[in-house]
Amino acid sequence: MEDEVVVEAKQLLVRYGDFTAVDHISFAVRRGEIYGFLGANGAGKTTTIRVLCGLLPPTSGDVRVAGIGYRQDEAPLKAVARPPWGMRISAGGYERVERTIKTKVGYMSQKFTLYNDLTVGENLDFIASLHKMAPAVYRRRRQELLEFISFKKNLGDMVGELSGGIKQQVSLAAAMLHDPEIVFLDEPTAGVTPAGRLRFWKLIRRLAENGKTVFVTTHYMDEAEQCGRIALMRDGRLIAEDSPAGLKKLIFPEPVFEFDPIKPLSFSELKSFETHEAFSFFQPYGHRFHAAAANAEVWARRAPDLRTIFSIRPIAPSLEDVFIRAIEGRR
C-alpha cells in the first residue's frame, strides 16, 4: 500500500503551437509522498500539474492519476488540428476521463481562485455544489477541514478581507473539500509571510501523514527541503529527481566549502574569485560564499593562498546551490 504509485506520467509531452512546454517527461509518485517540483518560471511545472489535474489535455503521453489512466497519441494531422472558428473538438473520451480524475484530485492554483465577494461559507457551499456533495457529508467535511486549518474567523467573513496566509489556508480547505486522495498545490505559499508559510507546511506534512499524496511546486528552498523527493525541471525537461540529500550529492559530486571573508572584499576581488581556477562553483550566500572545488590537485595547490583571505570549512551544499547550478546553470 505504501509503495503504491498514485501519479504516473510517461513520455508526457505538451506543446502550444511551436513551443514545447513539457518535453517528454516521466516520473512516478507514491502514496503519502510529498513530491516537490522545482524550476524557474516557465520551466513547465504548472503545465505538468494542469495535465495531471485534467485541466489540460496533453499533446501525447501516458498519464495515470489515482488509478485512472489514459494515453494520448500525438494527432497525426497537425495541420487540421485547429478547425475554423477556433473550435476545439475535444475527444469525448478525454472529457470522461478528465472528469473522473477531477473527482479524485484536489487542485490549488497559483492564482487565488476563491471569490473575494463571497463569504468563506458561501465559497465552500458553492464548491460543495460543484462536487455535488450530499449536505450532511459536506457539513461534516467542512467542520473537519476548518478544524484542520485551525480556522478562527467567521464563516460569514468576506474572503476578500482575509489576510494572505488565511486565504491560502481556506484555499487549501476548499481544494480538500471533496476528500481527494491526491492534492496538487501550485506555489501555495507565494506572497505569504514566513510565519504563514511555516503554518502552511505543517498542514502539508499532516496531509501526507494522513496518507494523502501532496504534489507541490515552490520557489522557497526551505520548503523544498521538506519534500520527500524533488524533481528539477528546466525548459520543459526533468533534469534530476531525488530526495533533497540525494539531489545535493547528484548535482555536487565535488566537495563544497563555505568561505567566510576575513576582511571585506572589493568588487574586483570578488569578480576574480568567480572565475578562479580552483572553483567549479562560486556563489554568494548571505555575506559568505559557497564554492565547490574544481579538482583535488588545483585545490591542494591554491588552498593555502585562499586561507589567508577566507576562513574555510567544508559543508553540504544547500538546495539553493543545487538550484543555482542545475536550474540556472551557473558555475
Partner: protein, 371 residues
C-alpha cells in the same frame, strides 16, 4: 429535483449580483431611471414650434389658420423685433422662428376664391424630423380651417377627401410607439452586459480555473453561468412595465402571459448571445468592447429609431437576424394591438433560431480546459 451544481450556481450568481450596493442600484434602479429619461427624450414628437405668419388684416382664413395652430398646442408665436421681424427668411435665418407662413400679395382668402390658392411656407429643415412634422401639422390645420371656413362661404369642397383613421395609437402619441423600443434597449443593455461581464470576470480573476478543476460538465457550466441571468433579466419586465403603462400611458391590450412568454424567449436569446460574445473575450476591456460591438448595431437595426421598412433590402437582412427587431415587433403587437402570439409565431421562431445558433456556437467554443 434541480441539479445541485446548477442550484449552487444560481445561488452564487444571485448573491454576487445583489450583494454589491452599486450593482443592486444598476440592476433595480437603472431600468426605472432610464425608462423615464429615455421615454421622454427619445420621443420624436415635436412641440413648441415657433411659428410666424405674414398676412394683411383682411386675410381671415390665414388668421384662422395661424390662431388654430397656436391654440393646438404644438406651435408658439415666434418672437422677434426690428428689421428681422419684417422678413420671413431673416426670421428663420436668425433662428427666431422654425416655420413662417407667407400669404400671397392679395391675401390667401382672396386667392381661395380662384382655382388654386398659393401659400408660402418656410420651414427650418436643419432638423429634418421636426421639419416633416411641422409640414404635416400645418397641412392638416390648413385643410381643416379651409374646409370649415369655406363651408360658411358655401364654396364646393376640395375634390378628394382622405378619411384617415389612426388605429391603436389614435392620438399619434409618440410615447406609445417609442416606449416599447426603450424597454427593449434597456433590457438588452442590462442583460447582455451582465452575462458577458459575469463570464469574463471568472476568467480574468482566475476563478474559472477553480470551476473547471471541479468535475462539472460543459453543460452544467454553461447553464450554471446563464440561467441566473435569464432570471435577473426577466426582473426588468415587472420593473419597466408599470412605468410604461402608468407614466407614459402605453396600453397593455394583450395578455400579460403572452408578454411574459415573448420576454422570456427574448431574454434567453440575449443571454445566449452574451455567452457567445464572452467566449471571444479574455478580460473586461475586451468584454466591454464586444458588448458595444453587439449592442450598437443591434439597437440600430431593431427599428426602434429608424423604421426597418425604410431600410434598403440589403440592410433589412441585418434587421432579420437582430433579436431586438423581432422582440420589438412582438412587444408592440402585444401591448398596442393586443395580439395573441403562438409558439410558432414567426418572430418567436426567429428568436429561438438565433438563440439556438448562439448556444450551439458557444458550446463549440466554450473551453472546459485551459490553454
Amino acid at each position: 429535483m434541480i441539479d445541485p451544481t446548477l442550484r449552487g450556481f444560481i445561488k452564487k450568481e444571485f448573491i454576487q449580483a445583489l450583494r454589491d450596493r452599486r450593482m443592486r442600484f444598476i440592476l433595480l434602479m437603472m431600468p426605472l431611471v432610464q425608462m423615464t429619461i429615455f421615454g421622454v427624450a427619445i420621443s420624436t414628437e415635436v412641440k413648441n414650434i415657433r411659428l410666424a405668419a405674414f398676412f394683411n388684416a383682411k386675410d381671415n382664413v390665414l388668421r384662422d389658420v395661424y390662431e388654430r395652430a397656436i391654440m393646438g398646442g404644438w406651435f408658439i408665436p415666434a418672437k422677434a423685433a426690428g428689421r428681422i421681424a419684417q422678413h420671413p427668411f431673416e426670421l428663420i435665418r436668425a433662428n427666431k422662428a422654425d416655420a413662417v407662413l407667407v400669404a400671397p400679395p392679395k391675401g390667401f382668402t382672396h386667392e381661395l376664391g380662384r382655382k388654386t390658392a398659393p401659400l408660402q411656407l418656410l420651414i427650418d429643415a436643419t432638423n429634418v424630423v421636426q421639419a416633416e412634422s411641422v409640414e404635416a401639422y400645418l397641412k392638416a390645420i390648413l385643410a381643416d380651417t379651409v374646409a370649415s371656413d369655406l363651408k360658411v362661404a358655401a364654396s364646393p369642397p376640395p375634390p378628394i377627401r382622405f378619411d384617415v383613421r389612426v388605429l391603436f395609437n389614435p392620438s399619434l402619441d409618440t410615447a406609445t410607439f417609442m416606449v416599447p423600443g426603450v424597454m427593449v434597449m434597456i433590457m438588452v443593455i442590462t442583460t447582455f452586459l451582465l452575462v458577458v461581464m459575469g463570464v469574463v470576470r471568472e476568467k480574468e480573476q482566475g476563478t474559472f480555473e477553480m470551476l473547471i478543476a471541479a468535475p462539472v460538465s460543459r453543460t452544467e457550466l454553461i447553464f450554471g453561468k446563464t440561467l441566473p441571468y435569464v432570471v435577473i433579466g426577466m426582473a426588468d419586465l415587472p420593473l419597466m412595465l408599470p412605468v410604461s403603462v402608468l407614466a407614459f400611458h402605453v396600453p397593455l391590450r394583450g395578455s400579460f402571459l403572452y408578454l411574459f412568454f415573448a420576454t422570456l424567449v427574448f431574454v434567453s436569446t440575449i443571454v445566449a448571445a452574451g455567452l457567445l460574445t464572452s467566449t471571444f473575450c479574455a478580460n473586461q476591456q475586451q468584454a466591454s468592447m464586444g458588448s458595444f460591438l453587439f449592442m450598437f448595431p443591434a439597437i440600430m437595426f431593431a427599428g426602434i429609431i429608424f423604421p426597418i421598412e425604410n431600410m434598403p433590402p440589403s440592410v433589412q437582412v441585418f434587421a432579420a437576424i437582430d433579436p431586438l427587431s423581432h422582440y420589438l415587433i412582438l412587444l408592440r403587437d402585444i401591448m398596442l394591438k393586443g395580439s395573441t402570439i403562438g409558439l410558432l409565431d414567426r418572430h418567436v421562431l426567429a428568436l429561438v433560431g438565433i438563440a439556438a445558433f448562439s448556444i450551439t456556437a458557444s458550446f463549440a467554443r466554450f473551453r472546459t480546459t485551459l490553454r
